[in-house]
Amino acid sequence: MERKIVLFIVMLVHSLFNVSAQDDFQLSSGILRAQGAFAMGRLTESKATQIYIKGDLSYYLDSKVSVRADGFYFVDSQDKTNKPFDFSHSLFTGMSYHLGKGAAIDPYVGLQPGINFARLGNLETTLPISPNSTSWSPVISGHVGFNYYAPKIFHLFVHLQYIQGRFVNQLNSQSLSEFRISFGLGWNIDVVK
């Protein structure tokens, strides 16, 4: 059964991204791409695994540079016994630099400042303050990834992001440093043509 599912996925991807049809694909300014996916994150300090719903939007200034914004909505931690945050949402804006020659395979690197909004999990205190206080934390992130464009409006993507920051409130501080990975199918249109 598993083999059949894998075969089906391979055939689906092959039909969507017909290799011979991509020879004439050329990245250019005006391409707007959007995608949504689940993302997995691994906090480097607490070793907790977190699950997010991710959405991003980017616009190509030319075949080399795109501006982009990424949003992560925290769903849950994988392990209930290791859950540093009740929630940890984040938003990033910045740029990607595309290393390829504008062809269908589009590797990129980039940098994004961002902001994180979180609340610590599993906290109890005898102090006369609320343990449920939330906090905004500035973060910075770098990313690598690649897109694989179909001729019309689809692309496959794999995106790896490293986030650096620190959650600080009146009870504790907790590292926000995390690797996040996401992959899936995205949409793209040329808004200049």
Binding site: S28, S29, G30, T44, L61, D62, S63, K64, V65, V67, T93, G94, M95, Y97, L99, V109, G110, L111, Q112, P113, G114, I115, T125, L127, P128, I129, W136, S137, P138, V139, I140, G142, Y162, Q164, G165, R166, V168, N169, Q170, L171, N172, S173, S177, V191, V192
Partner: protein, 234 residues
């Protein structure tokens, strides 16, 4: 923080290596096409009146308490002359004070940038900057709300000076790195970590009388996009 510095360095080296070996493509950025005349191929515009928007990350280093903070914010730039520009910014910076307190800084200000080199055909465009900002600071001591001064806040003014450089990615965008020293001209919030009976906590004293020259080093990385020219000039 080391990981991030290595990652940033790696990305900048990769980008510079890649982009220095390629021609600059003329962009068809829609906003630019509507708002400005197209720039000449292979130049990085230094036209007066150019308006840019950007996002930025700021690291606060070697401050009064010796702790490092990280901030995020935004900025816009207006170029007055081929060699003189301005940057108008807002930053929110959070610093963890040795696990016993939190410092929050909000900077809203402006800097004048002087470009000593006229060439607009270079990838790197170094500059000197100096300016002024308004500054809100709040320091909170963790978990010791029983203390009379467990938190303190102030508004003050500050001046800053530094150096930086743009790295032009293409005609319409750049990554900028700058380092500046910011000196606060208002009241000082003095903090001290005290250890008693094995407990560490932060004491805060608000020096509300007389100005003090408290300062910190700020390292800023920003990404900027040229939106269009506000006016046409030589």
């Amino acid at each position: 923080m080391k990981n991030l510095l290595l990652l940033t360095l790696g990305i900048i080296i990769t980008v510079s290596h890649n982009s220095l070996s390629q021609d600059v493509h003329e962009s068809n950025f829609m906003i630019m096409r509507c708002a400005t005349k197209p720039a000449t191929v292979k130049t990085f515009s230094q036209d007066p009146g150019m308006f840019e928007l950007g996002v930025r990350s700021t690291a606060s280093l070697f401050g009064d308490a010796g702790n490092h903070g990280l901030g995020a914010g935004g900025q816009f730039r207006i170029r007055f002359h081929r060699q003189i520009g301005s940057e108008w910014f807002a930053d929110y910076i959070v610093t963890d004070i040795d696990g016993v307190g939190k410092r929050e800084d909000v900077h809203i200000g402006w800097s004048v940038m002087f470009y000593p080199f006229k060439s607009d055909s270079r990838r790197f465009s170094p500059y000197l900057l100096a300016g002024h900002c308004f500054d809100y600071t709040k320091v909170t001591s963790y978990g010791v709300s029983a203390l009379p001064n467990f938190k303190s806040e102030r508004w003050s003014s500050a001046i800053q000076m530094g150096v930086g450089t743009h790295f032009n990615l293409n005609q319409w965008s750049d990554i900028s790195l700058s380092v500046q020293y910011m000196t606060h001209l208002g009241n000082d919030i003095h903090t001290e970590i005290v250890e008693e009976n094995g407990l560490r906590y932060l004491t805060i004293s608000d020096h509300s009388h007389g100005a003090s020259l408290e300062g910190h080093l700020l390292a800023t990385m920003s990404f900027n996009v040229k939106i269009g020219r506000l006016w046409k000039g030589k």
